[in-house]
């Protein structure tokens, strides 16, 4: 339709004006769209071109260097020794604890909302979940500081960091669980009831298996959301130069290490490789969850 109109030579000046306006607008849309997607290209290019040199075996197997080691290496023009092992283990450890806290409860609440679809109380819970999802992560950091750092571990700790991350994950898991279950035909569930299957078995043997890929996608996306979080961890886990698996001790994480490197002129070269690594992990999680969705449909 559009092609037909623009291929003709029109002599009517009003029509010509309308058509040229149309073309200018389309050009604008394409130009602005190109501007919109340019940052992602520029950011990835910057991370790869600056970061690939530092990525080697040591990067994954050694903990972060101290500032003196880094200074010596920088001054003699060598690659900075050490890696980000303490950050990787810290991130994995804290995200693991956060998942243990958030996934079971999140699934249960998601199932609850799905079962109670139209009830007034469920509506209130749904609104509260939405509020929780909108809370800025730094505020969750403050909360975890008061609850865990001040009252439970009496100091900055992995547990506090995990608590902040878990509260962030919770609403994401709840919503994705509810949305996934909504897509399962009611007849599947009813067939179970007709056979006299008890309610908890319907959940465990019917709902969860048939929605599995959707549930897994929701969980992966929730993890990918929190894995790059820095601000709440600054207020809770603080960071550490050592590999730490003690829940009650300060712990590092990849984003916290990036923040440390950024603030230390001697180690600033390490920010690119660490950022590249972090972004790759997030994109990989997103990719895997997209695959899961594609498989399902």
């Amino acid at each position: 339709m559009k092609k037909l109109a623009s291929n003709h030579k029109h002599t009517n000046p009003l029509l010509r004006k309308r058509l040229s306006k149309d073309r200018v607008f389309a050009g604008g849309v394409i130009l602005f769209s190109a501007i919109t997607i340019s940052p992602i290209v520029l950011i990835i290019y910057k991370l790869i071109s600056k970061g690939y040199k530092q990525i080697n075996f040591d990067f994954f197997s050694k903990k972060a260097p101290d500032t003196y080691e880094a200074m010596v290496a920088v001054n003699s023009g060598e690659v900075i020794p050490g890696g980000i092992l303490n950050g990787i283990t810290g991130t994995l450890y804290m995200v693991f604890i956060a998942s243990v806290m958030a996934i079971p409860v999140g699934l249960l609440i998601g199932i609850f909302l799905y079962e109670q679809k139209t009830k007034r109380y469920a509506g209130i819970v749904r609104d509260i979940v939405d509020i929780l999802q909108g809370v800025p992560s730094i505020v969750l950091g403050l909360i975890a500081y008061f609850w865990v750092v001040k009252n439970i571990t009496n100091g900055f700790s992995a547990l506090a960091g995990s608590t902040a991350l878990a509260i962030m994950m919770l609403p994401l898991i709840i919503r994705s669980t509810e949305e996934t279950l909504k897509m399962i035909p009611d007849t599947v569930k009813e067939a179970g009831f007709a056979l006299g299957v008890p309610y908890h078995k319907i959940i465990l043997r019917v709902l969860i298996p048939s929605g599995f890929s959707g549930l897994a996608t929701g969980i992966l996306l929730a993890i990918s959301r929190v894995i790059g979080e820095t601000a709440p961890l600054m207020l809770t886990a603080l960071g550490s130069m050592e590999v730490n698996f003690d829940m009650t001790k300060p712990t590092s994480a990849v984003p916290l290490l990036i923040w440390d490197f950024y603030n230390d002129p001697n180690m600033v070269d390490l920010i690119w490789s660490s950022s590249l690594f972090l972004m790759m992990i997030v994109l990989l999680l997103n990719l895997v969850s997209k695959q899961l969705i594609a498989k399902r449909s």
């Binding site: 058509l19 769209s33 950011i43 929780l132 730094i138 909360i143």
Partner: protein, 281 residues
Amino acid sequence: MNPTKIVLFLASLVVILITAGMVYSLTSGAIPVFREFGLGFITSAEWDPTEGREVYGALPFIAGTLLTSLIAIVLCFPLAFSTSLFIGEYYRDTKIASIAGTMVDMLAGIPSIVYGLWGFYVLRPLIVSFGWSAQGFSIFTAGVILAIMIIPYATSITTEIIKMVSNDLKEAAYSLGATRREVIFNVIIPNARSGIFTSFVLAFGRALGETMAVTMLIGNSNVIPKGIFQSGNTMASVIANQFGEADGLKLSALVAIGLLLFVITGIINGIGKLIIKKYSV
């Protein structure tokens, strides 16, 4: 009652307890500073943590938050809206639209601190070279990075809304000889108006609470910015910045800022949700 239902019900209480506990902790943490300064805490522009003559006013940070987020939404609008038209109208259901959609989604996956680094090493020198700001740290710099960060949120919802506009309406307009631009302005936009508005309200809500990237670019000065190329601080960035050395009254002031941020983002998201509810029926 069925035990399984009881377990599910108890789980739902967790979310209520967390949120109620959050409100309680933030409020009780904020009480000392409100007791000391009253509502002046919100209206005062003075922030001085010097021992002995401590004064805390949150106005510079409220101003900084609103300014950076407004700049972000103004810059984000033409970009995100055009991209939505590109994906959901001009090149709808084509390969190129799905590639563009994926790339926009990728923006949402980049951690805030990485945006901060990119802003610091790429965007900031650009601002300096334009001569807009001597160091490049400014409200505007933070606003630009925020704009990029909220683009994926605004784009994905707007695209969905644009795709939902019924084909019959569009075809009716085309059959009357309307150009595509005329269809967009006279059919798509009027029909999708409330949804588009909501998506930008929600994106604005996101911008309000962003912390790391803003902290790295805004310059961290505790005064009301005199212009958009001056340095400043947002509510989120001042918490991140000053939390390390905070206790006593200062900690309470930071918690009070956290409470304000919680309330403001809650209101913005609530407005967004209300509009969705009102128009989705």
